[in-house]
């Protein structure tokens, strides 16, 4: 363990806090949208966009870029926020989320924001698209291609049968450039995942389809970094990183509560959440906004 420096981790933590603040602000302004998933996945997205990815925010169509395929499109506020904070578009634009004419559609649409790799919303099709991209890349660049394809999925999303069609295919095709990251936050719209439709032992499920499996704390940058680095070294099978996350992470009021899956923070609750984020949970005082 320990490829990533403590200094870098401090920087990433600061970015993550800014991203979380933006998520709450944009959801508050939008008046609708999902809160728990974006906050829970903030650390992983921050790691990717500020450290892990080969990409160029000023040249989104960079040929050699890694691809990020967001399968559970409803957590797009976190994707939009890391894209803005890393330089793809102005941070101010985040407040247009879900508004008429905005490039930031309620669920991502590539035609509106071409820097996106795909459009998503209806669940369960991201892994298929990512597998297709890897296979196309293999046709063009051979097995030694060092481009990586990150597919981010939810855990509730794995109820969709299409995921397992894709998991079978990627295992069969030994798509080693495919790195799936499952947001294991244990909630979905109707409640806890194990009550709605138990996923049971996800690790064994993936492993039985010939995937390399790791399980991490999705808020620990050192573990995220180690898992990504290890996934990149696997040559003959696709990788999945099951990231245990706390839904709503960063705002006490939202953490671990299924009811915050699909609604936005409003009024006093939003203001309190923003204060909590801006003061790092009361550790520092908040100056002007």
């Amino acid at each position: 363990m320990g490829n990533i420096t403590d200094e870098k981790i401090c920087v990433l933590q600061e970015h993550a806090n800014n991203v979380r603040t933006s998520i709450v602000e944009m959801l508050q302004a939008a008046g609708s949208g999902h809160t728990a998933g974006p906050l829970g996945m903030t650390d992983i997205f921050t790691y990717l966009y500020f450290h892990g990815l080969t990409h160029d925010p000023k040249n989104p169509s960079l040929e050699t870029r890694d691809r990020v395929i967001l399968s559970n499109g409803h957590i797009c506020p976190v994707l939009y926020a890391v894209m803005a904070h890393s330089g793809y578009f102005p941070v101010e634009e985040l407040l247009t989320l879900r508004k008429f004419g905005s490039r930031l559609q309620g669920h991502p649409h590539r035609e509106f924001l071409p820097a996106l790799e795909t459009s998503s919303g209806p669940l369960g099709s991201g892994l298929s698209q990512a597998a297709g991209m890897v296979i196309a890349d293999r046709i063009d660049n051979g097995k030694s291609s060092n481009r990586f394809f990150y597919c981010l999925t939810g855990d509730g999303e794995l109820n969709e049968g299409q995921n397992w069609e894709a998991i079978m295919l990627a295992g069969k095709e030994r798509n080693h450039n495919l790195i799936a990251i499952v947001d294991r936050n244990n909630i979905q719209i109707d409640g806890f995942t194990e009550d709605v439709m138990p996923l049971n032992n996800l690790k064994e499920k993936f492993a039985s389809f010939n995937w390399h499996v790791q399980e991490i704390d999705g808020h620990n940058f050192e573990m995220i970094d180690d898992a990504i680095q290890q996934a990149k070294t696997i040559f003959d099978m696709p990788s999945v990183i099951i990231a245990n996350t706390i839904p709503g992470k960063g705002v006490g009021e939202f953490e671990r509560k299924p009811e915050w899956h699909g609604k936005p923070p409003q009024g006093d609750i939003a203001e309190k959440a923003l204060e909590e984020l801006r003061t790092l949970g009361g550790k520092i005082t908040c100056g002007d906004k």
Binding site: I69, H109, R110, E111, E117, T118, S119, S120, G121, P122, G124, S125, S128, Q129, A130, A131, G132, M133, V134, I135, A136, D137, I139, D140, G161, Q162, E165, A166, M168, L169, E173
Partner: protein, 335 residues
Amino acid sequence: MITKNAKLNPDIFNNDVKQVPIRSGFGEGLLEAGKLDERVVGLCADLTGSTKMDSFAKEFPERFLQIGVAEQNLASVASGMAAMGKIPFISSYAMFSPGRNWEQIRTTICYNDVPVKIAGSHAGISVGPDGGTHQAVEDIAITRVIPNMVVLSPCDAIEAKKATIAAAKTKEPTYIRLAREKTPVITTDETPFEIGKAQVVFEPNDSKDVINVLIIATGALLYKALMVAKKFEKEKEISIAVVNLATIKPLDTKTLTPLLKKAVSIVTVEEHQVAGGMGSAIAELCAKVAPKPIEFVGVKDLFGQSGTPEELIEYYGMGEEAITDAVNRALQRDF
């Protein structure tokens, strides 16, 4: 008479007219498209032989992907490949693709606007003995309703080959409707084909200002429409024209509008539900540019069943007799 510049098969009205399955034309076209452009890839859901993707798979094994019985994955994997610059052709039975995977086609292919080409084989009721589960008679409706989608419905194997080669050259998501059974070869290699073009294939002997009945047909039933038009040719006072509508979407309004204006009444012929199909597309245009009475030949809100293709075509009212009746009804109607 047969329109001269349509250059149709001269043996078309012979009893021993050559018969080839439309899906075979797709297989030949895909192989050709694969030779012309290395970006063309083929994906199949465990039906490589019966959808005629086998010759492509044999010639280009490194550009062929076996997906297994997983049509939803089939559509979205193709979307991912298209995002990386490929021109994927996906094949299965129309009932399963675009039937089962409609949402994946809508979101991951059409919403993303990527050039995936969907070959739906075994479309229509003429699949025969397999029965109603396998007879896709809703596929035109569910594909033409999706923005960005192009919908092709070739009338024979030669046109299917041309449609496939042409589809490989466009950037639009495209549905190509194919049939299983051997059907008469109507066109020739010389017959003009262009995506987006409707073609008059039969016209009155002396060009009159009025067409009593304009028959618009798509797919293999074009042959039966032509046989009916030929029969009516003896009745000098009745003028009939037949259009081959190989592109259902986008509609060739430039060709169709003047024809609809000239026509007293219209008969549409398709091996598909009347609701939402090609006839509906014509009705939408007709109501806008030249409201006329329309008789619809097609399946009338029913599921199919087992039987021989001929038995089923007759039973569900799409045979020559049914088309003749529709023409006679159209002749009685007046606005």
